[in-house]
């Protein structure tokens, strides 16, 4: 019997793939493979045709120039992405893509970059960069460990749940203690690190929902990944 296939799509790997975003793709792929799935990796760049079958979507951050390059394309794709999100497709949007998943990003020079509004969130450019090791507490995922590096300050709409509450670091805006956002099976966050290697609970949430949505079941084998726990505790103990 052939292995069940999962179609994993990386959004804008050419322009939005910085600070280890590729690591998230690697981890999702490996954790699926270890559970007997065959992973078809699709790279989607501006102008590409969007694949018919998509089970899991990952996207990352970029330089300002990278964001400019993808913005028009992303707006065109917005309707499709919203449909998929509402249909339960798990997605991970890090940093720059998180910002563009919201309604808009107003830069500190007043320029307004329109987002796709998949998330009820809004970002304004801040005066400084929020940089450093970051730790969150999340009701769903426990302790989440990562590294933030952003100048945009994001505020969530009243009904949007954050990804977690900051116990070390600045989070969405440095003010309200929230970090990231959650909508359906979409996880949005500022955390690099990469996020998924040191947060296997988050990775497995994404792969579980990808498999369940497509096949109705998930081959839920507990994975023992070496160095994972130690890497988590080392990172949590480091200075900001």
């Amino acid at each position: 019997m052939d292995a069940p296939v999962i179609d994993l799509l990386q959004l804008y790997p050419r322009d939005m793939n910085i600070y280890g975003d590729w690591g998230n793709v690697l981890v999702l792929r490996k954790r699926l493979q270890l559970r007997g799935y065959e992973v078809r990796l699709h790279e989607y760049n501006p102008g590409d045709s969007f694949p018919e079958q998509v089970d899991l979507i990952v996207g990352g951050g970029g330089q300002d120039s990278g964001q400019n390059k993808i913005q028009a394309d992303l707006l065109g794709l917005g309707g499709r992405l919203k449909e998929l999100a509402d249909d339960g497709v798990p997605m991970l949007a890090i940093c720059g893509l998180y910002q563009l998943f919201g309604h808009r990003f107003t830069t500190h020079t007043g320029e307004v970059i329109t987002g796709i509004g998949l998330l009820d969130a809004e970002t304004v450019g801040g005066p400084t960069r929020l940089i450093g090791n970051t730790v969150l507490e999340s009701a769903e995922f426990g302790t989440v460990i990562g590294y933030e590096n952003h100048s945009g300050l994001t505020t969530l709409g009243p009904d949007l749940t954050p990804f977690g509450t900051v116990t070390k670091g600045q989070g969405n805006n440095g003010q309200d203690g929230t970090e990231g956002a959650r909508y359906r099976h979409v996880i949005a966050s500022y955390l690099h690190g990469s996020l998924l290697p040191k947060n296997p609970a988050v990775a497995d949430y994404l792969v579980r929902h990808a498999a369940e949505r497509r096949y109705g079941t998930f081959n839920d084998v507990a994975l023992e990944v070496p160095y994972e726990a130690a890497a988590r505790s080392d990172a949590a103990a480091r200075p900001r």
């Binding site: 050419r14 910085i18 690591g23 990278g66 450093g132």
Partner: protein, 424 residues
């Protein structure tokens, strides 16, 4: 008179600071305070002016190359050797080498400047020549964005008065041509087949270098590179050199140094002597060294950003070598470990990595797990790791990839453990 006072006071403080074992910047700070014109005036008198070298990767070794190339042509060169690559550090170095009247006995100054500090420096002292190497993702937890760093380098390009030498293959550097007001722009570059060896940060995932626009002609092109043997196309002619520097990025930077030296020297350049000088250059301290430990070769390879690490892995084949990786995340290394996920480690998959060490050893080991690279031992204790590593496979050559502070610690430890002979 003010100048004289600043020199005397500065020199005195320098001696005192040395006795206390203090840093090299303090006397510079004092001289700057007493006489803000000190630096422009002293450096402005040099007959061949000031050369500024900047970029995120390889400036220390490139500066060393340029200095030795110009010295080989009989020039007296002033440089900031102490690694004080910021303005006060330059003031301190100038104080150290100027006579009591504040005159620097040199023909030309060749200065390595940190991108951010260079902006301040070029306002004080507009360089006659500048060499801008690259903008790679590095120290982003300090500067935030590659574009910010490129903006710093643009200020250097704008302030340069005679000629700017640019890396044709780095699109952010080549793009600075638009900012140049100096009468001359020169380039160094690569042939198309070598270009594949140098993926930039932007091209990392797409593999190819993307659409190649019409490139400007380069003064010096690195056209072949095989271990220490390099071929440069200079002015359309191929010239061969056998270098002491290894690693393709070092070899490429020697094309940069050659282009800059040719620009400075103009018609007076003695090409045969330039090549002899280039062949004699050894790496700058702490930038990767070949040592002999217990009679066996041991290479220390500094890695500090994804592009550099990728290039290092491409430069040094793993077969036949024992490998150790030591990753620290102190301030000087950069705290963000994300970069480890932007390096392809598959070239190590066959031979494996014997020891993984440093403060973030577990992050590194986890990275290798996800790339199916076998790992021997993981130990955050550098000393313990190093001891085991040098006992391994007697007679086998060894290589340690390490971040900056890990390299300093390893050097210290090696000095204690064994007789260390620096080969290059």
């Amino acid at each position: 008179m003010r100048h004289l006072l600043a020199t005397v006071v500065g020199k005195t403080v320098r001696v005192v600071a040395k006795l206390r074992g203090g840093g090299s910047a303090l006397p510079g700070l004092i001289a700057e305070k007493i006489d803000p014109e000190f630096l422009p005036r002293t450096l402005g008198r040099l007959p061949h002016g000031v050369v500024v070298i900047s970029g995120t990767n390889g400036k220390t070794t490139t500066t060393k190359m340029v200095v030795e190339l110009l010295q080989g042509q009989g020039l007296k060169v002033f440089t900031n050797r102490t690694g004080s690559n910021f303005t006060r550090g330059v003031v301190a170095a100038v104080l150290g080498e100027s006579n009591p009247a504040g005159k620097l006995g040199a023909d030309i100054a060749v200065l390595e400047l940190d991108e951010a500090h260079a902006v301040h420096f070029v306002k004080l002292v507009p360089p006659r020549y500048s060499l801008l190497l690259n903008v790679m993702r590095d120290q982003l937890d300090r500067f935030g964005e590659i574009e910010t760093t490129a903006g710093f380098l643009r200020k250097i390009a704008e302030a340069t008065t005679e000629a700017v030498v640019l890396n044709r293959e780095d699109h952010r550097i080549a793009g600075l041509a638009a900012a140049v007001t100096a009468p001359e722009i020169r380039y160094f570059g690569l042939t198309p087949d070598l270009r594949r060896m140098f993926p930039g940060d932007d091209e990392m995932r797409s593999g190819a270098t993307g659409e190649i626009a019409a490139l400007p002609d380069a003064d010096v092109v690195l056209s072949a590179c095989d271990g220490p043997a390099a071929t440069f196309t200079v002015d359309g002619r191929d010239v061969d050199a056998r270098l002491k520097l290894t690693g393709v990025y070092n070899v490429y930077n020697s094309a940069a140094a050659l282009a800059l030296a040719r620009t400075v020297l103009g018609e007076a350049a003695d090409e045969a002597a330039l090549l002899r000088s280039l062949e004699a250059v050894t790496p700058a301290f702490g930038r990767g060294e070949s040592l002999t430990v217990n009679g066996q070769p041991l290479d220390l390879v500094l890695v500090k950003n994804p592009a550099g690490f990728r290039l290092a892995l491409k430069s040094f084949p793993a077969a036949g070598f024992r490998t150790m990786i030591a990753i620290n995340d102190n301030y000087a290394d950069g705290r963000d470990m994300s970069w480890l996920w932007d390096v392809d480690f598959d070239s190590l998959a066959e031979a494996g990595v014997d020891e993984v060490s440093g403060v973030r050893a577990n992050d590194m080991a986890l990275r290798l797990f996800y790339e199916d690279v076998p790992v021997g031992r993981v130990d955050t204790d550098l000393t313990a790791s190093l001891r085991r590593f040098i006992e391994l496979g007697p007679g086998q050559p060894k290589r340690i990839y390490c971040t900056y502070t890990a390299m300093l610690a390893l050097r210290r430890e090696l000095g204690k453990l064994t007789e260390v002979e620096v080969v290059s």
